[in-house]
Symmetry: C2
Subunit: 419 residues, 2 copies
């Protein structure tokens, strides 16, 4: 980011209508910040240096985390400084403090880099689509989990091996929990939901499942059926109710979302005027993030952000909408059971599903090779069922009964199918 501002200072000054001077670069470890292009004395280790400097107009927060970052951002706002941040976790958790404080102080908080890296999705939803009633958002917002899923299918790797690859290549952190359990994608979805629907939600409000229980065989069964498995983040208006979920989802192979591989992000929006609009690009990385941060910085420098920010009503609540209870979500489902290879198994399972009003669209059970009686091979075989449309509630009730069946030998897999 600093390189963009210094290497292209002339262009940045022109686009901003004023020069952007870097007065403080606050780092944890100054030894790692020896950048020749920085003037002497700019590198600091205490964020208060920036926040307390009366000549500073804008504080860019890129430290991550929600403790020091919260202190620094709230202090910057209290000191009358605009804030540019890439910190979705901070905004999700403390948006209820940060956004009202900024409005009260007459400063703005810009966060293009917090969602989908270099893709200008905040600008698109916040300003360009202002003439639209947004109807739905379907997106891949977490590059790490998408890299892992792409690697599993492309290289025929297990989840564990693909995760290890992602860590070795720097696509996943040592602790990948927030990426693979859907938390990171969910935080980004919550920011988009605020902008698109004026609806304030928290991570706990969205139905959320991670990718860590998905096996390669599930992806191959899905492929056979014409689908790819993606960690889909989705928010959708249904009358006055909003459906929100982040979960591994089957998406028809030919759709752009299904074809988005590696660390790429994609956002598919539907608006009542614009119709279907798709944006895709690098969802993370130093330079794509810098592209978004610089856009925000120029927006603040020239004064556009100050006009936009108060109109977005961030972290206020749209009184016309409510969250749809997840029991009412209605879709088709992919189910994979590990069952004992005995007579009546399919009948037993379909009987339970049928009693909950769930009918089957297709069933896959492959012939298993005859095993010699004395091998200790796992006697269970996969049984894959695609259901017709049903509700999440009906499925949950059926699952509670299925858990009692002795013929099912392990936890089953279930993924919704995107419309």
């Amino acid at each position: 980011m600093i390189r963009i501002l210094t290497d292209h200072a002339g262009r940045m000054t022109h686009r901003s209508g004023r020069a952007i001077d870097i007065r403080h670069v606050v780092v944890r470890d100054p030894a790692r910040a020896r950048r020749t292009e920085l003037p002497a004395g700019v590198v600091k280790t205490d964020w208060r240096a920036a926040v307390n400097d009366p000549q500073v107009d804008v504080v860019v927060e890129l430290m991550g985390g929600t403790t020091t970052a919260r202190d620094a951002v709230l202090a910057a706002i209290a000191a009358g400084k605009h804030v540019v941040t890439a910190n979705k976790a901070l905004l999700c958790q403390y948006g209820h403090e940060i956004f009202p404080a900024a409005r009260a102080k007459g400063v703005c908080v810009a966060f293009e880099a917090a969602v989908a890296g270099g893709i200008p999705i905040i600008a698109a939803v916040g300003t360009s689509l202002t003439g639209n009633r947004i109807e739905s958002i379907d997106a891949i917002l977490n590059g790490t989990s998408n890299f892992i899923l792409s690697e599993m299918l492309g290289q025929r790797r297990s989840y564990g091996d693909a995760l290890a690859d992602a860590q070795a290549l720097g696509y996943a952190e040592a602790d990948p929990t927030m990426d693979v359990d859907g938390t990171d994608a969910c935080q980004k979805l919550i920011l988009l939901t605020q902008l698109a629907f004026g609806f304030r939600a928290s991570v706990a409000d969205a139905l959320r499942h991670g990718i860590n229980s998905i096996e390669l065989q599930d992806m191959l069964f899905a492929e056979d059926l014409g689908y790819r498995v993606k960690l889909l983040a989705s928010a959708r208006l249904s009358g006055r109710q909003l459906e929100m979920h982040v979960q591994p989802t089957l998406i028809r192979c030919e759709r752009d979302i299904a074809r988005t591989n590696g660390a790429t992000n994609i956002v598919e929006l539907r608006g009542d005027a614009v119709g279907r609009l798709i944006l895709s690009g690098a969802g993370a990385g130093e330079l794509p993030t810098a592209s978004a941060v610089v856009a925000d910085l120029v927006d603040v420098a020239i004064g556009r952000a100050q006009l936009t920010f108060p109109m977005l009503d961030l972290w206020e609540q749209n009184p016309d909408l409510s969250l749809m209870p997840s029991d009412q979500f209605e879709r088709r489902y992919f189910l994979r059971f590990n069952v004992l290879d005995r007579p009546h198994v399919i009948a037993d399972i379909t009987d339970v599903l049928g009693r909950h009003g769930i009918s089957l669209a297709s069933v896959i059970q492959r012939e298993t090779p005859e095993q010699p009686e004395d091998t200790a091979a796992d006697p269970s075989v996969p049984l894959v069922i695609m259901t017709h449309r049903t509700t999440e509630g009906s499925l949950r009730a059926a699952e509670a009964e299925l858990a009692q069946l002795a013929v099912i030998s392990a936890p089953h897999i279930r993924m919704p199918v995107a419309d």
Copy 2:
């Protein structure tokens, strides 16, 4: 557009920071404008009513054409009114008058709807990607020609039949010349080139070929080779030279541009920070266009457009860049000759190509069924050649010689292959 402003007046007022009142709706035929939602007396037939009204702040020009539209836009600017327009032809042809006049008068001209319909590409290139040095733009910007090409391949139709379909379905006008000869796409490319590279070009500056000589067989040969044929609009930096062209181009089947069918538009940008960014959506139509016009109108109403517009330096010239002469364009080419089925034909053609330094990557000549001697069947057969990289200049020189060969029985087809 009027429906968006009236049906969602509350939201528009909020996002604009002020109410947007429709004071005049100027139409050619008032009988066709009987909209119940319009207050009495709003519909006029003379644009001067709007331009001369001191209470009007913004004039939205959606009439098309370059005669009356030019008068109206220049008069509006002279009267100190901001202009929102979807008229790419007007801006390309008279941008040198319109943009300086607007800057001198302190008003702005916003034109999101002029390129790629509802896709917010002007906002993306003009503001969101401001931290980037844009390296290339590859795009499908004309929905009519893309619909025709998709229809040809999908329905195995001839160009003429697909054009007739497009006209019957309202995707093509009675006179489709500007769409199918690449003029419309070229005008849009010129607007993007201005924003992305600060480079002022005219339609005559870009190498331009239309789709009207492409036959279904060319698309099928391309498909066999792993490519789709698309009317690609492309601008690309090569050092300090800018390559610009609009022509039917072979694009690898798996690329997003190749997979964009029907009237959809797509823009693929590369920036030095953001990397590859793709936007796609409806490129035309009343509602997608309205989405873009309303975004501009709100931008003007709230004052963002007034901040952005002067910084864009529209229709000034970037002195660091020059246009690359088309002779120097370097790519691979798809060539299809209709040749007499005689010995030495391939040798004769490859000999000419070879003398111009053009080497072949692949050749397709299919066995032809034996014809009874007495049929009047066309004795010529298609010969398809894919070349290795060569320059447009070398190819032109070779083509001049090839035109002398008696074994070639008709004008040949040539299309570049996208990298």
